[in-house]
């Protein structure tokens, strides 16, 4: 079993890249792998708590909460990227960590595979 680090920089809703990252994480965890999901840039939107479910918008809070319960998944948001968007510590979804960008590099250090989704 291996470790997959996914870095996602894409905005929530619409681009579906974050949906892709979450679904890939689910599939990997299901097969016994561990996953680190790093949210940077506009992807920090996913770390905001209190997202309301509508049928016209992706709603990823639920699958992420389920992933947290497996113990094989961690999600961390870039602290500066979050603050720049007005997401403070108290705005953060339960279970989601916040660190500076070096956290992502450290996660890559020990990863077997890295998937960097860099665009918007």
């Amino acid at each position: 079993m291996g470790k997959l680090t996914i870095g996602c920089f894409s905005s929530l809703v619409g681009s579906l890249s974050l949906d892709f990252a979450v679904k890939l994480s689910e599939a990997a965890v299901k097969k016994g792998h561990t996953v680190d999901l790093w949210l940077s840039g506009n992807a920090t939107m996913l770390s905001k708590k209190g997202q309301k479910a509508f049928k016209d918008y992706s709603h990823l809070q639920k699958p992420i909460q389920e992933l947290f319960t497996t113990g094989s998944f961690q999600m961390t948001a870039c602290e500066a990227c979050a603050e720049a968007r007005g997401y403070h510590k108290e705005d953060t979804m339960e279970g989601c960590k916040r660190f500076s960008m070096d956290w992502y590099l450290a996660s890559c250090f020990s990863a077997d595979r890295v998937l960097h989704i860099g665009g918007d």
């Binding site: 940077s40 990227c81 960008m101 992502y104 590099l105 890559c108 250090f109 990863a111 918007d120």
Partner: protein, 137 residues
Amino acid sequence: MATKRLGFIIRGLPYKTEASRLAMTHAIASQSVEIYLEDGDMVEPVVCFVGDGVLNCLKNQQAMKHYGITSLEQHIKNSLLLDLKVLICKEDIERLGIKEASLIMDAEDIGGETKAQIVPYSEIQKEMESVDHLLLS
């Protein structure tokens, strides 16, 4: 004790998405990664500009003056100051008609000693093969 090499391959333009900016800031963050690693372990980034990404390397970007944000120029200089390896694809600057004099090749004005290198794509391909992980954006 291990060093993992990360290849940041930048193919996007400087200011439409944050992709190239975030690639640079993450590469620069390698300077503080030790706090998460065992003694002697290291992360060594290499930054390669390919395709339209070479347009990140133009001098005189006045993004701070007009939009109040750090230019990619400043980030490239900061990474040279930190002695990161910075490669710029020769074929792409030729295709886009960019002269070497227009490119950010050093960070001497802020005390940097390392220079950016203009290299054929084949060199960048070799870098991509030798790094441990590829981070393309």
